[in-house]
């Protein structure tokens, strides 16, 4: 055997341990993960950390990574230069728009902290302007970012400020968008009635944007479904679907079909639910750049299979979602997938399933921390331990979830953690 043939590939976690966590290497670390290869598919406990890579392969791939980084930097620099030119021309609303665009570019590559800095700068300028539309937009972007990071209370405050100014300025579209944001926050916090009220209020502004109206109907449909009002949900989702279809909005259609799939699943019409999810994929397939939505749909399919008792199919689906998340460096989504994997193993009373919770926690604490999700992982980890009869550990993990939620402020989840802690027998 030649010496080369005996060189075994590195594991991802081994490689990441070796590289220092410096900013300059962050894109390479991400690239290293996204280009790694899965191990033997029969290994039930494999995670992103155990994927394999050959440094020699990376040598060939580095120019591609650099090209991607350069492209991103160029777009950021262009936005920055445009902002400077706008300032020189005394067109500060345009400067704010450029800064916000740069922030959006950072969001697209999962750099929330950097996006925050761009938005902060944009908001500071916007607050000095007589025209308040840039400020409305900047506050909304902050709301979107905080929603994405699971900081719902802060997100709601930003949207509220955006709404107050938009209403004062009689900006119908700005008001409707802020209401949509508030509806999304309420939906994420399981405040169904509140969510429905915000979406309805958004529709009352009759903004001249059918896509926005479609999103508001979609939200109304989801809120109604969550409250068990299936007919209303069906009607609202139907409206959303027609509006999205009229404008050829494939991503919108994918979202609404995903929601219809959820509705069918709740009605225990599983084959129909599966068909709707597949239709959602059919619309998403030709549109690149929505890995989060693809993962979300796959997670729903996984949930459907779990409820169906089809565990192998559920695992297949989650592994496909894992591949998408890894290829697109969708770290929070990957953490959520491992959270679900841990839950699945818990149902099977498989104690080695703890490796998925541990990996999820590690991912939540990465360069872009997601404390709300981390708390959720600790909550489920605690329940996993409780299921296995390990009460001392269960209490410790639930306690850790509590600490995080107290720090970031999340009432509904905190209440759930407290309820779980209360059910634990004294250790």
């Amino acid at each position: 055997m030649s010496p080369e043939a005996r060189i075994s590939p590195l594991q991802v976690e081994q490689a990441l341990r070796l590289l220092p966590e410096v900013d300059a290497l962050a894109p390479l670390r991400a690239f290293l993960v996204s280009t790694s290869r899965g191990r033997d598919a029969t290994q039930p406990y494999r995670t992103v950390g155990t994927r394999l890579l050959l440094p020699a392969d990376l040598t060939h791939a580095v120019p591609r990574a650099i090209a991607r980084v350069t492209e991103h930097l160029r777009a950021l620099y262009d936005a920055a230069v445009e902002a400077l030119q706008a300032e020189q021309e005394d067109d500060l609303p345009a400067a704010v728009a450029s800064l916000l665009r740069a922030g959006e570019l950072e969001v697209q590559v999962g750099r929330g902290t950097q996006a925050h800095a761009w938005y902060d700068q944009a908001l500071r300028i916007a607050e000095t302007l007589r025209d308040r539309r840039p400020e409305i937009a900047a506050l909304r972007r902050f709301g979107d970012l905080k929603t994405r990071l699971g900081r719902f209370d802060i997100a709601a405050r930003y949207y509220q400020r955006s709404l107050a100014i938009a209403e004062a300025e009689r900006d119908r579209e700005g008001s409707a968008r802020a209401c949509h944001g508030l509806g999304e926050v309420a939906l994420a916090q399981a405040k169904w009635q509140g969510a429905g009220s915000w979406y309805t209020r958004g529709l009352q502004y009759e903004a001249d944007d059918p896509s926005l109206a479609a999103h508001l109907h979609l939200g109304l449909g989801e809120a109604a479904r969550a409250r068990g009002q299936f007919e209303t949900a069906e009607e609202q989702l139907g409206r959303a679907q027609r509006l999205f279809a009229a404008h050829g909005d494939d991503v919108g259609l994918a979202r609404v079909l995903n929601a219809v799939g959820d509705l069918e699943a709740l009605r225990e019409r599983r084959p129909e639910a599966l068909a709707r999810y597949q239709e959602a994929f059919a619309h998403l397939r030709p549109v690149a750049g929505y890995p989060q939505l693809e993962i979300a749909i796959r997670l729903r399919i996984c949930q459907l299979y779990l409820d169906w008792g089809r565990l192998p199919d559920a695992e297949d689906e989650i592994r496909r979602a894992e591949e998408t998340a890894i290829v697109h460096n969708a770290t929070p989504e990957l953490a959520r997938l491992y959270l679900v994997m841990g839950q699945v193993r818990g149902r099977q009373e498989d104690d080695t399933g703890f490796v998925f919770f541990e990996k999820a926690i590690e991912l939540c604490r990465g360069p872009e921390p997601t404390p709300r999700l981390e708390a959720e992982v600790y909550l489920e980890y605690g329940l996993f331990r409780k299921q296995l009869g390990e009460l001392e550990e269960a209490e410790a993990y639930l306690g850790r979830a509590r600490e995080i939620l107290e720090a970031i402020g999340n009432g509904p989840l905190l209440a759930r953690v407290d309820a779980e802690l209360a059910t634990l027998p004294t250790v």
Partner: protein, 467 residues
Amino acid sequence: MTNAATKTPQHPASDAPDHAPPLRVLAVGDHTREFRELARFTEAEGGVLHTTPDSSRALRILTQERWTLLLVQLDDDTGDRLAWWAEVLRRMSGRPRLVALVPTPSIGLALRATALGVLEVLSTTVDRERYCELLRRVRDAEREATLPLPTARAQSVGGGRLVAESPAMLPVFRAIAQVAPGTASVLILGESGTGKELIAQAIHADSPRATGPFVAVNCAAIPENLLESELFGHEKGAFTGAVGRKIGRFERATTGTLFLDEIGDMSLALQGKILRAVQEREVERVGGSDPIPVDVRLIAATNGDLPRLIADGRFREDLYYRLAVVTITLPRLAERGDDLLALTAHFLDAFGRQYHKSFTGITDQAVDLLRGHEWAGNVRELRNVVERSVLVADGPVLRAEHLPEEWRTGGGRTAHAEPSPLATMRDVEARHIARVLTHTEGQIGEAARILGVHRNTLARKIRDYGL
């Protein structure tokens, strides 16, 4: 041709082959003229073709009814779309075979299609002969003879959990019987998926420690940084993430058996700690200061070549000798002959109960596919395959269509294309009789005439084979 929304009854052509399930073809696309022509060809072969203009409607129809073949009309540059269809069909029970219709089929697309398990890529301007030949091929594949499932008998050793009758497993059973009553450490060798943990459980179940716990650790599954605390436990605050005190697996296995699977994947540092724990019969939790006595019987397993790892300096020789007091080597599934079918029957029964289904038979083609597979993943792979088959099966018989798509299209790891040479005479004869009976629709007299045996002889054989 019928629109899927307005189906018409099927009228098999007079010259259509008999004894085959009707062919139901769903065509997706808007090539009405071509589809009309295909509908004529399909009817001539005794089938029926329905059309639907788009994928959304097709998905609804596919979930509502059973189809033999799905024809999807695509553009030339359409690999992604094809992959999507292949993925959609994979999730469906009684899934139809996929055929792509493209304006000008390329070799690249054909290769991609094969890898995806697509049956055929045809030109939109369909050649009648080629299309009809394809239909006949699909129909032939559907014409399968049913065989009874063998009885899966569990062996008396190891608490009656081991299903095996093959001579290759005899030395394993002997070894279990010899080592179980003692206290010696055992090293189990075998490829991944051969059932090493099951053997460890069997030893534990037949040992004096059977009333104690059996604790298993898959060393390869647990990341290196977590494995030490998993094995030895930790005190609260011992490291970041140690949010509470944790009892390690050594402690949990006290008075019972600790099974360390995939031990060859462990770091040298951890190997040293295990050796110390085994020699001194005590462990120390990470971040703790007091030694904790442990009383465990150690069983280790690996699919690696430990002597080679020792030679490479990656495994401690002293630990190896400590573990390998007794060594048991498990055969690969491919070496276990008819255990393949016995295990298939066992898993069909187990998963059938789990998913509320009942199986009484298996078709000859399914047997051929099972025997023809390489089984690199051994019994674990078989278990996974059977579980998935149970999920998609829609009757009491396991058919070829319930097995992985790629096996039928040549994409899987097959050991050989022909039925396995390991089949017994009895197996071959039973299968041939079943095939002839399927052909004669169960008429014994006609079957006896074709087989050239007396009717009574055939009747006896049918009884013997449980056909």
